[in-house]
C-alpha cells in the first residue's frame, strides 16, 4: 500500500491530484490518502481511497503497513518515514499557491534529498517519476533501509541535559 499524507492541517490539492492521477494509471497499486480538511470548493480524489483526517492510531497503522509514503515536505512526515525506515516521496508546499505561509518546505526538501530513502518531487509534474523511483527502491532496498533512532543524537541530548542540570 502507498500512504499519502498532506499533514493534519491544510489540504494540498496539487499533491493529492497528482497522486490520484498516478493511481489511475497504476490500478494494481492500492493508495490510501489522508488529504486534509477539505472545503466544498476543493477537488476530491476519484481513484484513491482517502480520509480527510486520521486518528493518530490509524495514521500509525497506515505508516506501518505502507511500502512507500508520499507527503508534503513537512518534518512530521519526513521524521515519521525515517524513523520507521520507509521510503518517502516529498513535495514542497509553495507560498505562491497559498499552500503554506512561506517557502521553507523547498529548503527542507533540498536538504533531505541527500538521504537515500527520500525522493523529492519539486512539483506535481515530478510526482510520477519520484513515486516510480521510490517503489523500485522499496522493492530492492527494503531490507537495508535502517530505521533511525527514535531520539536525537546522544551528543545533543547530553548538552541539553547538562544545561538543565546546571541551572
Amino acid at each position: 500500500m502507498i500512504f499519502l499524507t498532506v499533514g493534519s492541517e491544510l489540504p494540498f490539492s496539487r499533491l493529492t491530484t497528482a497522486v490520484d492521477g498516478w493511481a489511475a494509471l497504476h490500478k494494481d497499486q492500492r493508495v490510501f490518502g489522508q488529504i486534509g480538511k477539505c472545503d466544498n470548493g476543493d477537488k476530491l480524489p476519484t481513484t484513491i481511497e482517502y480520509s480527510q483526517l486520521l486518528a493518530p492510531e490509524v495514521y500509525s497503522k497506515n505508516l506501518e503497513d505502507c511500502s512507500v509514503m508520499v507527503a508534503h515536505a513537512g518534518m512530521g512526515s519526513i521524521i515519521s518515514a525515517l524513523t520507521i525506515g520507509k521510503p518517502i516521496v516529498i513535495m514542497p508546499r509553495r507560498e505562491m499557491f497559498h499552500e503554506t505561509r512561506n517557502d521553507h518546505q523547498v529548503g527542507t526538501a533540498q536538504k533531505f534529498a541527500s538521504r537515500p530513502s527520500v525522493f523529492v518531487a519539486n512539483d506535481e509534474t515530478e510526482i510520477s517519476s519520484a513515486m516510480d523511483a521510490a517503489l523500485i527502491f522499496s522493492k530492492e532496498k527494503s531490507q537495508i533501509t535502517e530505521p533511525v533512532s527514535e531520539f536525537a543524537d546522544e551528543e545533543f541530548l547530553k548538552k541539553l541535559r547538562s544545561f538543565i542540570k546546571g541551572t
Binding site: G7, S8, E9, A55, P56, G74, M75, G76, S77, I79, S80, L82, T83, R101, H104, Q105, G107, T108, Q110, K111, V148, E150, F151, A152, D153, E155, F156, L157, K159, L160, R161, F163, I164, K165, T167
Partner: protein, 176 residues
C-alpha cells in the same frame, strides 16, 4: 545541585511536537510538564513515562492559533502565561512555534532558563518565532551548522541590544 529540576516542554502540534519528543530523554530525570495544542498527545507522553518508570508528566493544552488569528493568539498568550506561572519551571524548552515563543518570553520574565530549538525544517533562515524568541532565549539553537555561529564565533553580550542583531544561533546537533 541535588534538587530535581522542573522542566516545561512546549510546542505546537505536528512536526514541532515530533521534534520535541525526540529531545525528551534530556529531561528524563526532571519534574516535567508539557504544553501543546493537541489533547491526543497526552497518551503518548504518559506511555513513555510508564515504560521508563518515570513519574507521569503534567500535561496542558492551549488553543491552536496562526499568526493571523489575533484573538486566538491572545488566548494562547494568556493560557501559556497561566501555565508558566503555575509551573514556575527552572527550564523551558521549545521547538516552536507560537506557544513556545510565548512561553519563553514569559518564562524569562519570571526567572526560568530558556532553550529555543528552531525546527529542522528551517534550513535557510531561523523561523519568524525563533527570531522573535532570540532576545529571551538563553540557549538559541539552529539544527543546521551552516546557519550557526560555528565558523565565526561572535561573542554575545545579551545586555547589549546592538549585539543581538549580530547574534547567530548555536548548533548542538539535530533531532534526526
Amino acid at each position: 545541585m541535588g534538587s530535581t529540576k522542573k522542566v516545561l516542554a512546549v510546542s505546537s502540534s505536528g512536526g514541532h511536537w515530533v521534534q520535541l519528543m525526540r529531545l525528551r530523554p534530556a529531561w528524563d530525570d526532571c519534574e516535567v510538564a508539557y504544553l501543546t495544542t493537541e489533547p491526543d498527545y497526552r497518551s503518548q507522553v504518559e506511555k513513555y513515562a510508564k515504560d521508563k518508570s518515570l513519574p507521569l508528566p503534567r500535561f496542558y493544552i492551549t488553543v491552536v492559533a496562526t499568526r493571523w488569528q489575533k484573538f486566538r493568539l491572545l488566548r494562547q498568550l494568556l493560557e501559556t502565561a497561566m501555565v508558566v506561572l503555575k509551573e514556575r519551571p527552572d527550564v523551558i524548552v521549545s521547538t516552536g512555534a507560537a506557544p513556545g515563543f510565548f512561553a519563553i518570553k514569559i518564562g524569562k520574565l519570571f526567572g526560568s532558563k530558556t532553550v529555543w530549538v528552531d525546527s529542522i525544517a528551517n534550513v535557510d533562515v531561523m523561523s519568524l518565532s525563533g527570531q522573535k524568541a532570540a532576545s529571551s532565549a538563553d540557549v538559541w539553537l539552529t539544527q543546521w551548522p551552516e546557519l550557526s555561529n560555528r565558523k565565526n564565533q561572535l561573542s554575545v553580550d545579551q545586555d547589549q541590544p546592538s549585539s543581538k542583531l549580530l547574534r547567530k544561533p548555536d548548533y548542538w546537533g539535530s533531532v534526526i
